[in-house]
C-alpha cells in the first residue's frame, strides 16, 4: 500500500515549454501577413500597370510629356504626329489646388479652433456631425451643386473682383467669360477639402497638453494669446499635414472639377477666366473617344497624377505621424 502511494506521488512529466508557434498559429500568421501585403502589392500594381501601358507615350514624347501643352491626335494627311503633353493640365491642376488651399485652409483651421476652444457644448456635437457629413458627400453632388447653385453667385463675385482689382494680372480678363473658371473650381474644391483639414487639425489640437493651456490662462493669457503661444506651436505640423492631405484630394478630384471647370489646353494665369485644366478631368474628358495611342497617353497621364498625389500624401502622412507621436 505504501509503495502504491509513493508511486502516485511521483511528479508528472513536465510539459515541454516552448515559444514556437503551433501549427494553427503559423497558418494564422501566414494568412494575416499575406492579407496585409495586399495593399502594398496593389499600390505597386497600380503604378506598374499605368507605366506599363503608358510607357510608349512617355518614350515618344520624352520630357515634353510633362512640359508640352498640346493634346492633339495624329493627323496623317499633313504628316502631323500625335502630340500629347500634360503640361497645361498639370499647371491647371496646381492652380486649382493652390486656390482650394487658399480658400479652404483658413476656414478649416478656424473651424477646428472653433470646435476645440470656442464652441459652446450644445453646438459642438452637431458641428462635428456636420463636418463628418460633408466628408461623406460624394463628389458628383459637389459638382452639380457647384455648377447649378454656386456658379451664378461665384460669377457675380468674380465680376466684382475683376471690376475693382483688375490691375493685378491674375484678376485681368482678356474675354468677359466668367463661368467655369479656375476661381470657381477652387471654391468648390475648397468646400470639398475643408472637412478633412478640419478633422485632422481638430485631432492635433485635441492632443495639446491641457496643463500648458491652463498654465497660459493662469498667466493671464486671453484665449487668442493662449492659442498663439500653446496650440499653434504644438499643432503646427498637424495643420500643415492636414492641409497637404487636402491638397492631395484637390489635385486628384475628377468629377466635381469636370463639371465646374472649362478644360482648355493653355497656360493662363487669369484665374477668373473660363479656361483651366485638371489632369484627372482631362482623363475622363478624353477617355470616351480615345484610340489606342491616345489611351496610352492617358495611362501615362494617370501615372503622373498617381505619382504626384502619392508624393503629396507621403509627405502629409509623414508630417502628421511625426506630430502625433511627439
Amino acid at each position: 500500500m505504501s509503495s502504491d502511494l509513493l508511486e502516485q506521488k511521483s511528479p508528472p512529466v513536465p510539459r515541454v515549454i516552448t515559444t514556437k508557434p503551433r501549427f494553427t498559429d503559423k497558418v494564422f500568421r501566414a494568412v494575416v501577413t499575406s492579407g496585409g501585403m495586399v495593399s502594398l502589392v496593389l499600390l505597386g500594381l497600380i503604378g506598374f500597370f499605368l507605366i506599363y501601358n503608358g510607357f510608349e507615350a512617355i518614350q515618344n514624347a520624352g520630357l515634353s510629356f510633362l512640359t508640352g501643352f498640346d493634346w492633339a491626335d495624329a493627323i496623317p494627311e499633313i504628316d502631323q504626329p500625335a502630340m500629347y503633353g500634360v503640361g497645361a493640365m498639370l499647371f491647371g491642376t496646381i492652380v486649382t489646388g493652390i486656390l482650394a488651399m487658399l480658400f479652404g485652409v483658413p476656414i478649416a483651421v478656424g473651424t477646428a479652433l472653433f470646435l476645440s476652444y470656442y464652441a459652446p457644448e450644445w453646438l459642438k456635437k452637431p458641428m462635428v456631425v456636420v463636418v463628418d457629413v460633408m466628408a461623406a458627400i460624394p463628389s458628383i453632388v459637389y459638382g452639380l451643386w457647384g455648377f447649378f447653385v454656386l456658379m451664378p453667385h461665384a460669377e457675380y463675385w468674380a465680376k466684382l473682383i475683376h471690376k475693382y482689382l483688375s490691375f493685378i494680372p491674375i484678376f485681368d480678363m482678356p474675354a468677359p467669360v466668367f463661368t467655369r473658371s479656375p476661381f470657381i473650381a477652387g471654391l468648390v474644391l475648397a468646400i470639398m477639402i475643408m472637412p478633412i483639414i478640419t478633422a485632422i487639425s481638430r485631432e492635433v489640437f485635441a492632443q495639446t497638453p491641457p496643463e500648458r493651456i491652463q498654465a497660459a490662462y493662469a498667466l493671464g493669457a486671453t484665449k487668442w494669446s493662449m492659442i498663439k503661444a500653446v496650440v499653434f506651436p504644438y499643432g503646427r505640423g498637424g495643420v500643415v499635414g492636414g492641409a497637404m492631405l487636402g491638397l492631395g484630394r484637390a489635385l486628384g478630384e475628377t468629377v466635381a472639377v469636370y463639371t465646374v471647370l472649362n478644360l482648355v489646353y493653355d497656360i493662363r494665369i487669369e484665374i477668373l477666366l473660363s479656361s483651366g485644366g485638371n489632369v484627372a478631368s482631362m482623363i475622363v474628358n478624353k477617355f470616351g473617344e480615345a484610340d489606342f495611342v491616345e489611351l496610352q497617353a492617358l495611362m501615362a497621364a494617370g501615372f503622373v497624377l498617381f505619382i504626384v498625389t502619392l508624393i503629396v500624401n507621403f509627405i502629409a502622412n509623414f508630417i502628421i505621424n511625426k506630430t502625433a507621436r511627439e
Partner: protein
Amino acid sequence: MSQTQIAVKPTRPWKLTFRDLVPDLAGALFTVFGSLAIVAITPLKGKLGFTFTLITLAIITATTVSWIRKDRKAAMNSTTTVLVYIASAFVIIPLLSILYEVVRLGVSGFSLRIFTEDMSVTASDTDLNEGGLLHAVIGTAYIVFFATILSTPIGILTALYIVEVKGRLSGLVRFFVQAMSGVPSIVAGLFIFAFWMIQMGNAYSGIAGGFALTVLMIPTVARTSEEVLKLIPQDLREAGLALGATQWRTVATVVIPAAKSGLVTAIILGIARVVGETAPLLITIGGADAINLNPLEGNMSAFPMYVWKNLLIGSPNAISRAWLGLFVLMVLVLIFFAAARYFSSARRRFK
C-alpha cells in the same frame, strides 16, 4: 434652538452677469443695424453687400469695444473670436445649401414608381412620370456588393497584421495604407481598365466597377478597423493567452467578438465612401439604360452613372432626372452614415 443656519451662498465671480452682456448685445445690434444702414445708403447692395458689410463691421466693432474697455491684447482676442465664428459659419452654409437644393430639386420627381422601371423604353428628355432608375439600383447593388466582399477581408486582415501580428513590415504597411487612401479615384479606374480590360481582355461589366471601388474601399476599412482593434484592451488578449489559447484562438474568440460592432462600422464607412464614386465607374462599367442582371458581362449602370449621363444630356428634364438620382444617392449615403454612427455609438456603450 432658535439658531438659524446661515448657509453661505456660493459666489461665482466668473459667471457673466447681465451687465457684462450689455456691451456684447449692444455691439451686435449696432453691427446688424449699422450694416443695414450702410447697405441702404451706400452703393453696396444685395445679400453679398450686406454679408460683406456685416463681417467688416462686426470685426471693427468687436475690436474697438475691447480696445476701449481693456487693451490691445483683448482687442486682438475679440478680432480672432469673430473670425473663428465666421469661419465655422462658412462651413455650415455650403452643407445646408447642398442638402436644401438636393431635396428641393430632387424630391419633385420622386415616387416609389422609379424603383420599378428602368430607362430602356424612356428617353431622358421625356417627362419624369415615365422611366425610373431600377437599373441603377441593381447596378449599384452589384458593384457595392463586390467591392464589399473583396475589401472587407483584405481590410480587416491588414488591420490584424498591423495590430495583432505586428510583423516586421507593419509600420510600412500602415504608412502605405494611409497613402493609398489618397489615391485619386480616377487612377483606381484607370488601373482596373489597364489590368482587367487591356491585359485580361474583358469588356465593360459590373464586376470591373466593383474591382475599381475595392481599391478605394480597402484603405477606409483597414484604417477604421485598425483604430477599432487598437481600442480593445491589451488585458483581454493577455487573458486569452494566459488561459493557454493560441494567438489564433485569442483573436478569433476574444478580440474579434469584442471589436465586432467597430468592424461593422468600418465596413459601413467604407461603403459610404465608395457608393457615390463616379470617376472610376465612368471608365469601367460602360453605363446602360436597361436592367442588366449579369454583373460579369455587359454594360452596367449605377446611381452616379445615371446622374452623369443625364447631366451630360443637359435638357431640363434630363437635369431633373440627374437631381432625382442625386437625391436618392444622398439618401443612401446618409443612411449608411447614420448606420455607421449608430454602430460606433453602440461600441462606446459597450466599453
